[in-house]
Subunit: 463 residues, 2 copies
């Protein structure tokens, strides 16, 4: 159906891109055959490290004219197979397009290439007293990837998600045309909002080659508090109360003892406290120390009344490191604790978080499989891991499907969504279809066709 | 090309909607022939006051099957002809769908019908200590209309625009299908973001029949400050400094003496000060009086150093009333001051606001026409009015076009957009096309076709 890249194609590609940035056949590293999702793997015919919008445009035009599929890839940290070249073809890697192009202090924007890593961007702007609020756990993901999945992260409770910080995009369309959507402007009611259609489209509509991001002034103060509870039920019960109290919280994360122990083992580092079954981690930020103190004292009192054993400040450098390193390592730690795993990144209304976490325990029992979870209790986005441990292949497949079916069915019942921040990619298409129905799936396929009539851009994903 | 509504159609419509809510021919009030834009006017064949999503669905299905154009209308306060039935047909008026359906304190959302007025929503949630931040000047617009134009308003500097507060939409598609996009959930990375494509689409893709809106806790304190300057140049010069200073401002509005005088004449009420040429109105909000005091003292000092004559607090009830009533009446006052007018609602990067306002003065001189303006200096969205005064028709048309051409050309040069918050509608299509180019216009037309292959929904608008 698609054309395989052959010598003639390679010759053309080498005429527009220096050959030291082109890898072919055996020259393509195994790393580019997969992302962080287990189970699917395929190398692209050719891998190209691009340097500019213009290069992407020339490659796309050629691929489109010759019916060669193209997949764009950043760091490849995604969990749903979105960056796997299912049909071979060309992989465009943006990792060398990693320049911060402009910090505009008059418009509070930063303009970046898509291969800039989240951690690089955060460090760059914070050194200059600005703040880029989206804070997904995976700091080595690229900004291009973050935009393509509308990544969320921990600070969504207060600050929203990646979408809320993308002011403008430069993209290459499947036919090679270069288009700009949005700008540095704060407001825009000029035609259909194509920028937001592209955000979260997982590289299926066009390739992002530049982004203008909104910044805010960096909050002067930030403090976190760790609250232990005797059970996850007790811990999670405080979340709706916190939300109803209108306390100004930046992040509300939950974590279970077994996840913390996994992280301790994985990192070889101690967590500040491992005496209790469940923990809530709260973050507050603002410009006034006094205001913050008032706020967290009120919240700590409330939580202790509701069953928190204590409220540890995460204030010393050492404690910050031990807590945040553990939080950052949860995914890798769970991965390391099992032969294989797959993830369910549902989002439910905040009021349903407690019920959903309880339900994961029921499913674990019913299916007889280990299901650790952690995540963003304050915004309803849970990261639920189905662990293979040492099951045989058939049992694993059966139990995984059984658990997924139950979990996604419950998410639908709660009027949630299949994915809060990791996307649909290849792995979650069937559940998306169950959630939104055939009418909306057709609408999405038709929208895809408008952008990409030849279906050469990231085929087999999302729709 | 389209079918005119005839007796057979009326009979069918009367079989699904009680006839006291159907108006036909002479029975349709002249008010429904136009919006707030001068110059275009046409009555729909039939006007229907709908009560439910289901009614809208049945009407749409019939209209689609019979090739009858349909326009949805809220309060009809728009300024670009978006709510005018250019092709006749059916007008669906949502003013009776004006119920607030649910305040969900656990998820911080409010669910509303589209005909709820902005002022009704604001009052309802603020009485309950919640806050709906978008604050367009026209408080009698409906929420459905606000969503359809992605209305912005004064508080966008701090809080963003309508788009940022729409979590979910129930809509009726052109074929009558009912679809839900989004939900109460905070995060969503599950397929293409169709919700945001609908926001700002001016009723051309589907009809919004229900919206889930995000609320935030109501700030405990809010204070405004009025700063007089000897000239608009001096006034506007402080804006980039305010932005660079990272002061936490909710609104930064500018107004000229002539606009204020127009408002005084229109309202028959005095403004607190009319001794200077230009004024900046700042608003601060937050939860701590002390913090707010610190913030506005710093800002006032800065402004006075930069040429502000004084800094009046808008604190007493009387002063608040006189300032905000005047601010709210600017548009009507300018309208009342001239035989006819047309409006340019450009948005430019914040750093270009001063340059753009200066340029409006140059254009006024060059074209020899009166061009008052006011607007959102803090977010780059200016409301610029071209006044006919007592010109004859031909001179007016010529000068209006000349002024528009110059203003929109400058907006393009500054990488701004045709509309910050009022939309494109019928009146601004040519300027949108000049801004985004044929490639993007075609893309938008193709997207429209996916939703509405028969082009029966609000034809002749936007694309």
């Amino acid at each position: 159906m698609y054309k395989t890249v052959d010598e003639k194609d390679l010759n053309y590609l080498s005429s527009i891109i220096p050959s030291e940035r082109i890898f072919y056949g055996e020259g393509v590293s195994e790393d580019y055959a997969h992302d962080e999702l287990g189970g699917i793997s395929r190398k692209p015919d050719v891998l190209i490290n691009v340097l500019s919008t213009d290069e992407v445009s020339r490659i796309m035009k050629y691929a489109n004219d010759n019916n060669i599929p193209v997949v764009a890839r950043g760091s490849g940290t995604d969990l749903v197979g979105a960056a796997v070249a299912l049909e071979g073809g060309i992989m465009i890697c943006t990792k060398l397009m990693n320049h911060i192009l402009e910090l505009d202090e008059n418009n509070l924007t930063v303009t970046v290439e898509p291969g800039v890593l989240l951690m690089e961007l955060q460090a760059y702007v914070e050194e200059r007293d600005f703040f880029y609020p989206p804070d997904p756990g995976e700091k080595s993901a690229t900004i291009g990837g973050n935009i393509s999945t509308n990544a969320g992260g921990m600070r969504a409770v207060k600050y929203g998600v990646t979408r809320d910080y993308v002011r403008g995009l430069t993209v290459v369309m499947p036919n090679g045309d270069i288009e700009h959507f949005g700008s540095k402007c704060v407001k825009n009611s000029s035609g259909y909002d194509i920028k937001d259609l592209i955000i979260g489209s997982e590289g299926t509509l066009c390739i992002i080659t530049e982004a203008i991001l909104k910044l805010i002034p960096k909050p002067l103060e930030s403090v976190s508090m760790l609250l232990p509870f005797v059970s996850m039920e007790k811990a999670i019960e405080v979340v709706p109360e916190l939300i109803r109290s209108k306390a100004s919280l930046t992040a509300i994360e939950y974590m279970s003892l077994d996840t913390i122990i996994s992280a301790e083992n994985y990192l070889g580092k101690k967590f500040p406290d491992t005496n209790y079954e469940a923990y809530i981690l709260l973050t507050f930020d603002g410009n006034s120390k006094e205001e913050l103190e008032k706020e967290y004292s009120k919240v700590a009192d409330m939580c202790i009344k509701m069953g928190a054993i204590d409220g540890y400040f995460v204030d010393t450098d050492e404690r910050k490191k031990s807590v945040w390193n553990a939080r950052g390592a949860f995914l890798e730690a769970i991965k390391a604790s099992t032969d294989e795993m797959d993830e369910c990144d549902v989002v439910v209304p905040k009021s349903r978080v407690a019920d959903f976490i309880k339900y994961t325990h029921e499913v674990a029992q019913k299916v007889d499989i280990r299901i650790p979870s952690f995540g963003h209790a304050g915004d309803g986005n849970l990261h639920v891991y189905i662990c293979r441990d040492s099951m045989d292949e058939n049992t694993w497949k059966r139990k995984l499907n059984e658990a997924f079916d139950l979990l996604y069915e419950k998410a639908r019942e709660y009027e949630g969504h299949v994915s809060g921040e990791h996307g649909i990619g290849y792995a979650k298409k069937q559940y998306l279809s169950l959630q939104v129905g055939e009418g909306q799936m057709k609408l999405m396929r038709d929208l895809k066709k408008v952008f990409d009539p030849g279906n050469i851009l990231n085929p087999g994903k999302l729709v």
